[in-house]
Symmetry: C2
Subunit: 115 residues, 2 copies
């Protein structure tokens, strides 16, 4: 991460599940995808991502499979979201909405919406 570090805690797994809900990706690619989508606001460290991926797989949210290496492309470990993972994503998405709405209210109206 980069921005304010502590702010991002707790949302990283949701971001990972979110990008995997659109397509199967491998670890390194997840980092770049999240960075691109967020205009480089989120720059995840590998030391952050890999433990999260392992944890999500262990808990049945993700499944992984290795791609075959070719002459130009080495082996990559792809992740696929499961039904359980999709449900978890929906739940976290809902919590995120509640949370961000609540923060806006405390900050005084639609503070983070304007400007």
């Amino acid at each position: 991460m980069n921005i304010s570090k502590e702010l991002a805690k707790g949302s990283t797994a949701m971001l990972v599940l979110s990008v995997l809900s659109k397509e199967n990706l491998y670890g390194y690619q997840i980092i770049r995808t999240v960075a691109n989508l967020s205009d480089d606001v989120f720059q995840m460290n590998e030391g952050t991502l890999y433990p999260i991926l392992h944890s999500l797989e262990k808990n049945g949210m993700l499944e992984s499979y290795w791609s075959e290496a070719s002459e130009t492309v080495r082996r990559r470990k792809y992740y696929r979201i499961t039904e359980k993972g999709l449900k978890e994503l929906a739940k976290q998405n809902k919590e995120w909405k509640e949370y961000s709405t609540a923060v806006s209210k405390v900050l005084g109206g639609a503070a983070h919406v304007t400007a």
Copy 2:
């Protein structure tokens, strides 16, 4: 806290600074004010708040003073935000906007705005 716990990490100090930027409050009152403003989404524990208040005071963001006890009201420790605290609040406010905007983008558009 209550909601998703981990999501709230990093934003608590900002919420405290925010309510104190409007009026001076004592600890117990801060908990109730934040709960009210957020429609009970944020239910801070005392064990969370007091260390944050001490830390913010130590870092010059807040100043404190004791109210005199009367027959009906006991002593309360009030907190007042400093100039430095106001600047810090503005900074964190900006970071919050960047962060929440980035999350929305990764989640796929204005996910947390709609519905």
